[in-house]
Symmetry: C2
Subunit: 332 residues, 2 copies
């Protein structure tokens, strides 16, 4: 009986493997135009997965880290988490009548984002803390889930989760199909990402590294809760990215993907290890289908990173030239 089961199982596996061979098709990156960028990805993955090759990397060490804002989804006219925070200010305004006479909240409520941000980082931090702290972690998760399910981008009029990059989704899938473990390493809030990135990117919560605020363990009616405090715990940007990678992953990536100077240290840290290494910058060059910006942008500035990428021969993706589509489902 056991032998019959095994043979049956074997036939099932033949069918499955046959199907996979067909469905995988010849091109794992169909939304990428043929060119240097695409070829460099294909070559790197082939090289490190080839058994017996001097460049072979065991699966456990195939760690790939991705920035989020501007690398996996758009980030204009400003980081989507800021737009979330503005929406929260509006939603909470009735509980805070004092905000009408208090900046930066007054300007947010009037829809004058420019004036609200005139206070710089300090003003933004104030808005973040008022909208991201004070509740339990469970409550915050529900707030994010509710927002991401309904909110739309101010000019593209799409849900934010429809503003992820189709070519990067294919890249994530291609890496995972080749034994890579894919991580997000973002300056964005770790708890702003976790509620939706598993569904959208296939990246589970434990593979998300990001900025965080402090939390406090408390017993409420005999039940433990974690309360979010208005205090920065860790800022996972620039120098913080290698530190966040080291603390949370504990293993140096062999491939890293970013789009701004905020990712430069992550790419430096990744490429400084021994053996084959891969670094890629997404360069925002498509003013029609997405946005075009680099050295002078306040959001996602790519200046030093672009110089270093050229000097070191890192892959630079020209979004306009290299990507057939930007967003999923062929919508541009």
């Amino acid at each position: 009986m056991k032998r019959i089961l095994h043979i049956a199982l074997a036939f099932v596996l033949i069918l499955v493997f046959g199907d996979l061979a067909m469905s995988q098709g010849p091109d794992p990156l169909p939304s990428w135009n043929n060119g240097k960028a695409k070829q460099s990805i294909i070559n790197f993955v082939a090289k490190v997965t080839k058994q017996g090759s001097p460049d072979f990397v065991p699966p456990a060490e195939r760690v790939a880290t991705f920035d989020n804002d501007g690398t996996l989804w758009s980030e204009q006219p400003m980081y989507f988490q800021f737009l979330f925070a503005f929406d929260r200010v509006k939603a909470l305004a009735s509980e805070h009548p004092e905000w009408k006479g208090k900046e930066p909240f007054a300007s947010v409520l009037k829809g004058d984002v420019k004036r609200a941000l005139a206070g710089g980082k300090h003003a933004m931090l104030e808005i973040i803390m008022e909208t991201h702290a004070g509740m339990t972690t469970d409550a915050f998760e529900k707030i994010v889930e509710g927002w991401i399910a309904t909110a739309k981008h101010p000019t593209k009029k799409r849900p934010y989760t429809a503003m992820v990059y189709q070519p990067m989704l294919e890249l994530l899938a291609h890496l995972r199909a080749n034994g890579f473990k894919t991580f997000i390493v973002s300056g964005g809030g770790i708890e702003f990402m976790r509620p939706w990135v598993e569904r959208i990117y296939g990246i589970p919560p434990e593979q998300v590294v990001g900025s965080s605020i402090k939390t406090k363990f408390e017993m409420r009616d005999g039940k433990p809760v974690l309360v979010r405090l208005p205090e920065v715990n860790f800022f996972n940007d620039k120098d913080g990215k290698p530190i966040g990678i080291h603390t949370q992953i504990g293993r140096r990536p062999i491939a890293a993907f970013g789009n701004s100077d905020g990712d430069l240290q992550m790419l430096q840290w990744t490429t400084a290890g021994p053996g084959p290494r891969f670094a890629l910058y997404v360069h925002h060059t498509d003013s029609k289908r997405e946005w075009a910006y680099d050295r002078d942008s306040n959001i996602g500035r790519l200046d030093k990173g672009l110089n270093e990428a050229r000097a070191k021969g890192w892959t630079v993706v020209d979004m306009k030239q290299d990507w057939k589509v930007i967003y999923p489902h062929g919508k541009r």
Copy 2:
């Protein structure tokens, strides 16, 4: 040709599956005596993995967290990381002639541990910072690897990695064989554990949550390094455990394993979630083969936790009664 390959593959798979069926055998926990503790584990795993059952938990949510000291390996006469720190003081003494006249270092160098620790937490923290900070993360990893490969326990005369609990190794393997992702959540230093826990427990670095000191990103001769600073970053004990779990894993465990009051909040946090939950305390009751201690111990005190375990019906492992062997290879 492809079909031939598929058939060959199928036969290989038959062999592999046949082997697995034999090697797995009827008992996944052979070092556990039959009893309530063992049965509670078997039942829980069977329940959450049974397709179609109301208690079924999808694999992605099968997160199990394990304390390390006293839960996966011994912790007497004191945490092994402290013994590592004392060994480091001796190894570094020639570079620090001033230590001969300075407590707590002078007492450590004389072998008078009791007197060295008379300064309490402050003294221990001073020793930790002198021995764990100041070098790069790469250098510290090599120091830990060198020590763990050669050092022996003062009374048991075994390598520390031979003082892990065989029954817990079987439990880790049983959980993983059933789709669980196993994590360490320890008060010990994250970088003291990562160099060896993958080899010993099968737990990769990215699944280790622990205490940490701050690090700093620096360029040295054009190469990025992370330098360990003598400053606490996070203390992953008691209240810190649910916070560490939330920050690093981002998902509430469905099963948690500990041995002391330092694990109580982790067990509370784990069992407070919806659906089936499992909490287990290892109770150190074996003065002959290991050590017997609980309510009055300075190391690994189990007092409030034992009360709560009894009140809530958590599993309590009686090491003397429940475990056939303590350490691997039948050596006791």
